[in-house]
């Protein structure tokens, strides 16, 4: 049973963690709950797969794929900066949902939705520890998620850019009036998130069904983890994502239950929200 959980944790926990921490970062710095992050990652991953099958070597294909993901994410960022700089979080979420649908449709249009085998970004057959098979990609996913979380938290706490980003997260317009480079920094966050989104999808997609729309919805468990972290806390988002991966893995224990693994994020979200009901929250301050 523990082995099942570990398999799940390694199979998808790392990717969920990368996506979740990235969603928190974008939300805290730009106010956008980015439903489209995995869709953008899917675009990059499909580009990577196409480059690879057209004869490029694995590393080059991965780099170009990531760059496509970065470009797609920057386009999303430009839309927000141009039209939704002052919009409310709910409005921005509405835009993100439209971007999810649009990005998935564009990906299908460019790369087609034909079944394809997404290559493992780090080749190798992996090894078994006490019955649990660990692939190089899954280990790299977990390591990357931890490193990325460490990087984000340290960068925000200890660097000048981090300070500026924290100021922007509190009030973009006020920060702009202080002379901070709000738009370039925001775009940098969007670009970076495109790269992380692509890497996360590259890690998780070999184990998923091969439809663009299904892969784009890998954002759902990541969003569940960010919700547990109240859209604010990076390490809690990572840990929740890893636990979610582990919980899904637990279902591997049963042939019947594993088919319902996608119910887990909903159950977790429902549980967390009901728990949060204890607090009486009104809509706004006086």
């Amino acid at each position: 049973m523990l082995q099942s959980a570990l398999v799940g944790l390694f199979q998808s926990g790392g990717a969920y963690g990368l996506l979740a921490v990235c969603v928190v970062l974008i939300y805290r710095t730009t106010g956008v709950l980015n439903f489209a992050l995995a869709a953008v990652g899917t675009t990059g991953t499909y580009a990577f797969s196409s480059f690879y099958t057209s004869g490029m070597n694995l590393a080059e294909a991965a780099i170009f794929g990531i760059l496509i993901g970065v470009a797609a994410s920057v386009v999303c960022g430009l839309i927000y900066i141009r039209w939704f700089f002052d919009a409310t979080p709910t409005y921005r979420a509405g835009v993100a949902i439209a971007l999810l649908v649009g990005t998935a449709a564009i990906t299908i249009r460019i790369f087609s939705d034909e079944p394809r085998q997404i290559p493992a970004v780090i080749p190798g057959s992996g090894f078994s520890v006490d019955g649990v098979v660990l692939t190089p990609t899954s280990i790299a996913g977990i390591a990357l998620a931890i490193l990325f979380t460490l990087f984000v938290t340290q960068m925000l706490q200890r660097t000048r850019w981090g300070l500026q980003l924290r100021a922007i997260s509190q009030g973009p317009v006020a920060s702009e009036l202080l002379g901070l480079p709000v738009r370039p920094l925001t775009l940098a966050i969007w670009g970076g998130s495109g790269a992380i989104g692509t890497i996360a999808v590259m890690i998780v997609s070999p184990g998923l069904s091969d439809e663009v729309q299904s892969i784009s919805l890998v954002i759902v468990p990541a969003l569940a983890a960010t919700l547990v972290a109240t859209f604010r806390r990076y390490w809690l988002a990572l840990i929740s994502a890893l636990i979610l991966g582990g919980l899904q893995g637990l279902l591997l224990y049963s042939q019947t239950l594993i088919r319902y693994e996608e119910v887990i994020p909903f159950m977790v979200v429902l549980g967390v929200l009901i728990w949060n009901q204890r607090r009486e929250l009104w809509d706004e301050a006086r």
């Binding site: 693994e261 979200v269 706004e284």
Partner: protein, 655 residues
């Protein structure tokens, strides 16, 4: 300005207001008739057109009608309560599952009854989604509903819909709706029925409460409306509508497969709903048409069908950037067209007088306020500023120009105090916000509560109105303890309040707002009277078109029409120009006489306080530091020091 001038001005203003009421009522009738005739024409014409279309197009029309129903279910939530629910097709899949299951079980009743069962089966799931939304909103809700769609989709991937694997028996439609054309008419009628029900609900307090929730949950509760019931109600209705649409899909194709209800399909429809503004019936109808026909139209011009999924989101982004949906802008154009026609055909004599209002047009503060403000200004000069030591009583006489409604309750001065708070204490994580606060608001009086910023005045109002639950001490309204009551229950028990920022509902008309706030049946005359009392807008004016000063007065009207025991006004003149402040002061001072309720006025403008209040309480650092008649209290050294530090009194007076 003489009293005769004032009286003359008020009579002319009253006549002008009456004139505006009659004009507004006439135009409203015309607008409603035009709207209803247009809608009726559409209801009849659409099936007529469909009857002459080729069979293949009829199938698409059925899909369009069903999509329009799904869009209605999204619009109920997204447009009215601004809650994003991303799982409409998940609710639909539940309806589809139930219809197929009862068919497989061989239940009697046929499709008509099964559809109803399917709709009812969606309700518990709507409640499950609605429960987390009771106190949390926005993004949390979007995430849980998308997770729900994702989860249900995975379940239906591994657990096929009943009867969809072995086609030993196939669901059939009852003979009256057996043909595709008849089935389209059936779906269309269901759409129309939902549209009519939603139209009616929008005009009742139950439906208007949804828009209140979207604007401000605090204000909703403070009006005595239950936020919980409003939210759960809207989820129940939305889930029911969506689940019925699922049953209709089964009726169309005789079975169901998981891909009909995928989460991404839900998101596409959600994007379409934002694009067209599916809270309005015409928006939902056009949205259904778009989603069903766009692929065919695109392929007919040799554009791949999946371009629709690129174009819809682009349209949605454009609409969100513009801040108004397609259907809302159509309605605005329709109104403008009617107004232009009206302007062309309106007879010169009997036309509304300048300064009066016509539905849909911007309204200025009405003359009665100005007349009363002028009366006040006549007795109070700007030189008589804050902390004036002159003891002249500047309270507004009851015989002033304001209209006192015919149904006036008259002052209530006997009996227990309207409000009594005793030994109230509040602590916020170590900070003492209120300590041993005791005060009374006598029945039939206007009392003032003043103090520097941070003194605890609004905290006290939050305690009395129930927004702060953890406090020491007791709160009594007209002798009855209300400490155990929730916010909306306190409002119903006789505590009404306003907020520092006005929280009226821009989508409603002034009259509808007053009706919602009253929480009881009131006549059109009563609505007109209370609006006239505040010297405010016509009942037919949209609040979005009214200036902020008048909205403040409208909020007060909403409170007093409910006949509370005590009205708590939290800085009602904040941010208003002097003339508007004095107009508000004039109305407030007459509330006890006109409506029989006491008023507790929190105010920084000492001129307003002196004009309104017979008794004031001064707070500083969460404690009461003085109380008594304004002219005595405002001279006290402790009060001056609380406001202005330790500056010497002489300089304050001179300043």
């Amino acid at each position: 300005m003489t009293q005769a001038d004032v009286n003359g001005g008020s009579q002319s203003a009253a006549a002008s207001y009456q004139n505006s009421l009659e004009t507004g009522a006439r135009y409203l009738r015309i607008d409603r008739r035009n709207g209803q005739l247009t809608a009726l024409a559409a209801v009849i014409l659409v099936p007529v057109v469909v009857f002459i279309l080729p069979d293949y197009w009829v199938q698409l029309c059925i899909t369009g009608a069903i999509d329009a129903i799904v869009l209605q279910s999204i619009g109920v939530l997204a447009d009215r309560t601004k809650l994003f629910v991303l799982c409409p097709l998940a609710f639909a899949s539940i309806g589809a599952w139930v219809v197929l299951q009862v068919f497989v079980w061989g239940w009697p009743g046929g499709l008509y009854f099964w559809l109803l069962l399917g709709g009812i089966a969606g309700i518990p799931f709507g409640l499950i989604m609605g429960f987390p939304a009771l106190r949390l909103r926005g993004l949390n809700l979007a995430v849980i509903t998308l997770s729900f769609a994702f989860a249900l989709d995975s379940i239906f991937q591994v657990t096929p819909f009943p009867g969809s694997q072995n086609y030993t028996s196939v669901l059939t439609r009852p003979s009256p709706i057996g043909s595709d054309r008849a089935y389209f008419v059936f779906c269309w009628l269901i759409f129309v029925v939902f549209a009519v029900i939603l139209y009616i609900l929008d005009r009742r307090p139950f439906g208007a409460a949804w828009r209140c929730v979207a604007r401000s949950e605090r204000a909703t509760a403070a009006m005595g409306l239950s936020v919980r019931n409003a939210k759960l109600g809207v989820f129940v209705i939305s889930a029911f509508i969506a689940a019925v649409s699922g049953g209709l899909i089964v009726g169309q194709v005789y079975t169901a497969v998981e891909s009909n209800f995928s989460p991404v399909a839900s998101l596409v429809l959600f994007a379409v709903a934002l694009l067209v503004g599916s809270g309005l019936a015409e928006g939902a109808a056009v949205g259904g048409l778009l989603s069903a026909f766009a692929p065919q139209v695109l392929s007919s011009i040799h554009v791949p069908q999946d371009f629709g999924n690129i174009l819809f989101p682009l349209g949605t982004i454009q609409v969100l950037a513009a801040g108004t949906s397609a259907s809302a802008s159509w309605r605005a154009s329709f109104r403008r067209m009617l107004r232009r026609r009206r302007a062309r055909h309106a007879p010169a004599p009997g036309a509304p007088a300048p300064g009066t209002s016509v539905p849909g047009e911007t309204t200025a503060v009405v003359a009665t306020s100005a007349a009363t403000a002028a009366a006040l200004s006549a007795s109070t000069t700007p030189a008589e500023a804050a902390f004036h030591t002159d003891t002249t009583d500047v309270r507004v006489p009851a015989s002033d120009a304001t209209v006192v409604p015919a149904y006036s309750a008259g002052p209530v001065t006997a009996g227990p105090p309207a409000l009594r708070v005793t030994d109230i204490g509040v602590r916020f994580t170590g900070v003492v916000a209120l300590e041993d606060m005791t005060m009374e608001v006598p029945a039939g009086s206007v009392s003032g509560l003043i103090g520097p910023n941070g003194a605890g005045k609004t905290t006290l109002v939050d305690v009395v109105s129930g927004f702060i639950r953890n406090y020491d001490g007791t709160v009594e309204v007209a002798g009855r303890g209300i400490d155990h009551l929730l916010v909306h229950q306190r409002a119903r028990a006789g505590v009404r309040r306003t907020f520092q920022q006005e929280r009226t509902i821009p989508e409603l008309t002034a009259g509808d707002y007053v009706r919602v706030a009253a929480r009881r049946r009131i006549s059109a005359q009563e609505v007109a009277d209370v609006l006239e009392f505040i010297g405010g807008p016509s009942p037919y004016d949209r609040i979005a078109d009214i200036d902020v000063g008048t909205r403040r007065l409208l909020e007060i009207a909403g409170c007093i029409v409910a006949r509370p025991k005590v009205l708590l006004l939290d800085e009602p003149t904040a941010g208003l120009a002097e003339a508007d402040s004095l107009a508000v002061a004039a109305r407030v001072s007459q509330v006890p006489d006109a409506f029989g309720c006491a008023v507790l006025l929190i105010e920084h403008d000492m001129e307003v306080v002196r004009a309104c209040c017979s008794h004031i309480t001064v707070m500083d650092f969460g404690k009461k530091i003085a109380e008594g008649r304004p002219e005595d209290v405002l001279k006290m050294d402790t009060v001056v020091a609380a406001y202005l530090g330790t500056a010497d009194k002489a300089s304050v007076i001179e300043g």
